[in-house]
Symmetry: C2
Subunit: 532 residues, 2 copies
């Protein structure tokens, strides 16, 4: 085939996330796409804006395979940049605004980003990293329509997002992009020193969007509240890309405020919200709750952690809609299981069942799949699994061993096909020939004494036990904790082999930018605890 024929065939039948916007703009040109403060864009306007920005990026020299970072809070510009990249085959690299400068610098270098879109108020924080040892040429200030920043003389090309769209061409930029071309590098804050770059293909993100639309029955007359950050795959790919696929409206919020969200649901007749369990708790506790009309809500989603049973029941009662709990990981783009409304009360504490595009299985140490009921490592397959870890064939090979994606989580499927997490796989402690789930011991420590503010349980090297179960505890201010008394109380509720061999008191625990406790750093710090 000639290059022109290749392009024609590609345009006709490719899987491209940008095309899903093009199609929605063709089907529903006058439906509301984005509401960002008092700026409202229909799907025609959203698509036209994306095309203008894409032509602007082409003008700057961006081509298929180039990377463009985005450091921005939730905004219409975030999604415009994302879809402009998608249409060009340019790879979008969202910057987590919780990262330290050092991590941002690492990601800009590792992804070989040749530019970065930076929200105005982040310019001072991001500029030093952009100036570092990397391939960054362009800093694109978003929106750049006011004078809150000055163009530094630092050798970088500074321009504004507004100017980028000024080129004026509103036609579709028709360039060849393959189904498996990357659309994003999503860096995951692992518990190790630097994040890994999860390469997500157009096919993966497209099918993730399909998964959510099918599982949660999204429709063109849905109105979504986008509260959680778009730089997280949970907001971006569980909600924003599916909303665009079906033609729903996305109401963009810059952060969470319980009263503001409750008011928005009432005034905009929001049908779909997505938040963390604590956000629902804050709304339940808010004085405006009773006065707000929440009858437009069709469903509420949450992620990361189950909700306590009593809270869930109150939510079902007060919000009067279905609640879905989503589980997954960035490597799954991210949805792997959905805990459906009808199951959360019948199977409290579980993680739901596999979604339509994912197969969930449990694997033994030898790579064989285990029958239902047997514990092992949770593994996944499905078309929205990552392509690879960027520039990291060793990590990819390890994650893909035996032809399944290794989740790093321990758990099992019960007789109903319900998935149960027991712990992070690497947080399973191997002691005296037994496996101990640290989460179970942590629960026992919390229950043993009201004075425990926080605890992590880790396995520390031990001559006799291999790893010795060890509790690392932060006491509540003013609490008087006695290690021996605490240990006795903990042992009372546990199998003997699961009981901690000792307790260590600390003032605070190390955390990642997203708030996850870094157990590896705890293990490192106390690696010699049992060695004399």
């Amino acid at each position: 085939m000639t290059p022109a024929e290749d392009l024609h065939a590609n345009l006709i039948h490719r899987v491209n996330v940008g095309d899903s916007l093009t199609r929605t703009a063709a089907r529903h040109p006058d439906r509301t796409a984005l509401v960002d403060g008092d700026r409202v864009n229909t799907y025609r306007q959203f698509n036209t804006w994306v095309n203008r920005v894409a032509w602007g990026l082409l003008g700057l020299g961006y081509r298929r395979g180039d990377a463009l970072a985005i450091a921005s809070g939730n905004s219409a510009e975030f999604l415009v940049a994302y879809y402009a990249c998608a249409k060009l085959g340019v790879v979008c690299v969202p910057i987590n605004l919780g990262w330290r400068a050092e991590e941002i610098g690492y990601v800009l270098g590792h992804s070989a980003a040749r530019g970065i879109v930076v929200e105005t108020q982040l310019v001072d924080a991001i500029a030093p990293a952009a100036r570092g040892d990397n391939a960054v040429v362009d800093v694109i200030v978003s929106p750049g329509t006011n004078a809150d920043w000055t163009r530094p003389a630092d050798g970088l090309r500074w321009l504004t997002f507004a100017a980028l769209g000024d080129a004026g061409d509103e036609t579709e930029p028709e360039v060849l992009v393959e189904d498996r071309d990357p659309i994003s590098y999503l860096y995951t804050s692992g518990t190790t020193a630097f994040p890994k770059g999860v390469v997500g293909s157009h096919t993966a993100i497209y099918l993730e969007s399909v998964t959510m639309a099918l599982e949660c029955r999204f429709a063109e007359d849905d109105r979504f509240a986008a509260v959680l950050p778009m730089f997280h795959t949970g907001q971006l790919n569980c909600f924003c890309t599916p909303a665009v696929m079906v033609g729903a409206a996305v109401h963009i919020l810059r952060g969470f405020d319980a009263g503001e969200l409750l008011a928005l649901v009432e005034t905009e007749r929001i049908t779909q919200i997505f938040g963390l369990p604590m956000m629902y708790r804050a709304m339940l506790d808010h004085p405006d709750l009773a006065a707000r009309d929440l009858s437009s809500l069709r469903r509420a989603c949450y992620a990361m952690a189950p909700m306590p049973d009593a809270q869930l029941k109150r939510c079902l009662d007060v919000f009067g809609c279905d609640f879905y709990l989503l589980f997954g990981q960035t490597e799954m783009s991210p949805t792997a299981t959905v805990f459906r409304p009808e199951h959360q009360l019948s199977h409290p504490g579980a993680a739901g069942t596999a979604v339509v595009n994912v197969q969930v299985a449990v694997m033994g140490p030898d790579g064989s799949l285990l029958p239902r009921g047997e514990p092992g490592e949770i593994v996944y397959r499905g078309p929205h699994t990552l392509t690879e870890y960027l520039h990291n064939p060793e990590a990819t090979e390890a994650a893909f061993a035996h032809g399944w994606l290794h989740s790093g989580d321990a758990g099992q499927l019960d007789a109903d096909g319900m998935l149960w997490f027991t712990d992070r796989y690497k947080d399973v402690i191997k002691t005296g020939g037994e496996n101990v789930a640290s989460i179970e011991v942590e629960k026992a420590v919390y229950g043993a004494d009201q004075g425990v503010a926080e605890v992590v349980v880790v396995g520390l090297p031990h001559e006799h036990w291999g790893e010795a179960v060890t509790a690392v505890v932060v006491a509540k201010p003013g609490a008087e904790l006695d290690p021996d008394r605490l240990l006795v109380a903990v042992r009372a509720g546990l199998d003997h082999y699961k009981a901690p061999k000792s307790v260590i008191f600390v003032d605070e625990l190390p955390r990642t930018s997203t708030g996850k406790i870094q157990k590896n750093l705890v293990r490192q710090r106390f690696a010699d605890h049992y060695r004399q």
Copy 2:
């Protein structure tokens, strides 16, 4: 990457229609998958059967890229063979049971099928074609569990479908199959003598399944009645593959009988039916109608032709569920537009709006896209468009001109984005669910009687057939043509469904300035021929 690593990555994130069965069997092992007479298979049993057959095919030497034809009425074996092929990357070639031996022979040769699955009662009809000048080695008699046939001594390898599954290995056959590998060659009767082979990829059929599941909101507790033939993409890919994707039950019927279908809806609590307009008419007219409980129906779909307004209203009233009209063509796998329940009464005569995975546009003769309201050729894009026409780069290039699939239909989009067909670019008549090339019938009319000076064959609106094949004839001066004798003579050389329903005599045919017969004017003039 090593071959093992390639396979691992492929198994983890590929798009494969066979995997959608594997996943459903993992999620819903005990849900009913197939009901074929008194044989009921759960999804676990269906998947296990498919795996056994796949291992049987591997044992016979079938490998990725090989083609296997299927000549069968609706049966569990049809779907088992289809999914076994999908898991192996073997290409399934459904045989239209309305084809003449000559066409079957052509398709077996053109597709390079190395085997054919033949339903027992078709053995005598199919065997001669299988013995022709082609690559066929295996004839697999389905089900082959009785003694209705004898193994001929003809040099072919004769075996039974039952024996094929006897190999016994029930594990997943894990072989590398790429997203864009073909899953089927679907031969369409075009305007030329022999049908063209539409190459459908795994990605295309997978996303067609997604389209239907999203547009019609299929769910795991749906129960489908499969009446129309599975060798048509309409039954196979609008209903069977989506049903398997979501985990719905497929009740398999060997043909249409109004009373039988009405009874099935009541006894099996069927939620979804799909038929031609004439089938709904037959059910409306059936004496059992009033006595049957049809309250389980959620939706009824029909295809190929609009339903007369009065009939649609009566259907909505009597069946008490939503009615969807599907439009498309084999090249679209096949769905392009869905005429939604709320639009059929407000826009009678239209063809619906684009589905989620398809962009519909109207193109001028110079390849430019036309604004809404302007007539031109209807063109499509989207990930369930065909890969190519098999061994026919000229036809592919013509169909893909300007980067859009040319439908061969003329029409326009109105201000609401509603698609209207005005005429056919190609002269294919759609009658009773079959495509008939007018040129083939015209040849038969010319050959039937020396007194025919000129003939055009057109499809005219008909309550029962959608379009009725009709010959409009100019007699030679002095020739005495008897319409009934002419019809008998024409029928002798044609498949029954291609034969004209009537003959109209005229003095002359309307022509363009360049001498081309204006079929659209013929159609207009006789539009009411079958209406009283």
